[in-house]
């Protein structure tokens, strides 16, 4: 109960340090509080539109985005990803052999907690595990080939609603909590937490950018950013976000980053996959 009050308090005040008492974690209650905060703060935004990040917050940006979505720059990455996905490994197996439903239309189930290995498995991690299990070298997590693969897999899953499960397993709850704490903890020279921008200041400007709401912020991954002139995965965004607040980034797909992704994606349950996404 105390925990619930603390979390809601943290959400309301934004950016406050969350006390890590060892009492029960209640993801369901936190999920509701998180969602209610954003829906309450942005009553004019249709629920599904939260997945469009800054475009759900600003009309001028939205029009430019719609223009670009007519023929978006991530099309090349999706096509490349499709080719890569279909191409067999040296041993004759394919990515489809590693995933349920042949790897089509499954983005909404990532990340998930793997009871066997006791860790959060993201789509990128699963792809590299698949490669290594089949004698292939792992891909760089941040961009290029990995981003093309995940762009294709997101594309085949568009519209499917996120359904991240937190099993009744203390390790899963611990991963969720660690991700949540990271999200609400201030860091870096600028002393911002993820929440400082994406909860407290969602919809506002930071310098020249409009801040995306944290609700559904994972739904558009991977993203093509005009700033990058290229695709980038969740890892690319997490590490650059850390650098932007002058904090030392963790290695891509670090366990803690995966816990953050677990927490954040769970908070966006019910929202549709919108990736791959175009962003400023």
């Amino acid at each position: 109960m105390l925990r619930k009050v603390l979390i809601i308090g943290a959400i309301v005040l934004g950016g406050a340090q969350v006390a890590c008492a060892d009492d029960a974690v209640d993801p369901k209650a936190e999920f509701k509080a998180f969602r209610d905060y954003f829906v309450g703060r942005f009553p004019k935004v249709p629920f599904d539109d939260f997945v469009n990040g800054p475009y759900s917050m600003d009309e001028g940006l939205r029009k430019q985005w719609k223009d670009i979505e007519e023929f978006p720059p991530y099309e090349f990455a999706v096509d490349k990803g499709k080719e890569m996905f279909a191409k067999p490994f040296a041993n004759g197996k394919t990515y489809a052999d590693c995933f349920p439903n042949q790897g089509i239309g499954i983005r909404q189930n990532f990340p998930y907690f793997d009871a066997k290995s006791g860790q959060v498995i993201t789509l990128e991690l699963a792809l590299n595990q698949c490669r290594e299990a089949n004698g292939e070298k792992p891909l760089d997590y941040v961009k290029d080939d990995m981003a093309a693969l995940t762009a294709y897999m997101a594309f085949t899953s568009r519209g499917k609603r996120f359904d991240i499960k937190i099993p009744d397993d203390p390790r899963a709850l611990a991963a969720y909590r660690k991700g949540e704490e990271y999200f609400y903890t201030r860091r870096g020279q600028l002393n911002f937490s993820c929440a400082s921008c994406h909860v407290q200041s969602a919809g506002n400007h930071i310098r020249t950018e409009v801040l995306a709401p944290a609700l559904g912020i994972m739904a558009a991954m991977p993203i093509y950013r005009s700033e990058w002139g290229a695709m980038g995965t969740t890892s690319r965004r997490f590490t650059t976000c850390n650098s932007q607040v002058r904090a030392v980034p963790l290695p891509p797909q670090d366990e803690l980053y995966r816990d953050v992704e677990y927490f954040l994606t769970y908070m966006g349950n019910g929202l549709p996959v919108s990736g791959p996404g175009a962003r400023p």
């Binding site: 670009i68 007519e70 023929f71 720059p73 099309e75 090349f76 096509d79 490349k80 080719e83 002139g229």
Partner: protein, 103 residues
């Protein structure tokens, strides 16, 4: 190797609407790389669209056209099933072309 050109041409009652997206760095020559050196200009100069042996649209581009450039225009006189040829040439002499069917 996959073409650099993506085209969507849809025949309407009066005109055919053409949208194209071309994969090309369109380096302006003003951007520096990680080492601080200027990346030389490398951009498409001419894009030509042909239907029935006739040029229906020509784009003359400079370095200020965005990366992976997009184009949309409409022309009369085509119908579903016709072929539309798209070709480009850049400042390094490289080129690509594609023949698409009008939907």
């Amino acid at each position: 190797m996959a073409s650099t050109i993506r085209v969507r041409a849809v025949a309407g009652a009066d005109t055919t609407e053409v949208q194209s997206l071309i994969q090309h760095p369109m380096d302006s020559g003003f951007v520096k790389d990680a080492a601080g050196k200027l990346i030389p200009p490398h951009h498409i100069e001419v894009v030509r669209f042909e239907h029935g042996g006739k040029t229906v649209f020509t784009a003359l581009w400079g370095p200020a056209v965005a990366k992976d450039p997009y184009l949309k225009f409409s022309f009369k006189g085509a119908k579903k099933g016709d072929e539309l040829k798209v070709s480009w040439l850049d400042n390094e002499g490289a080129s690509d072309s594609l023949v698409a069917k009008i939907q």
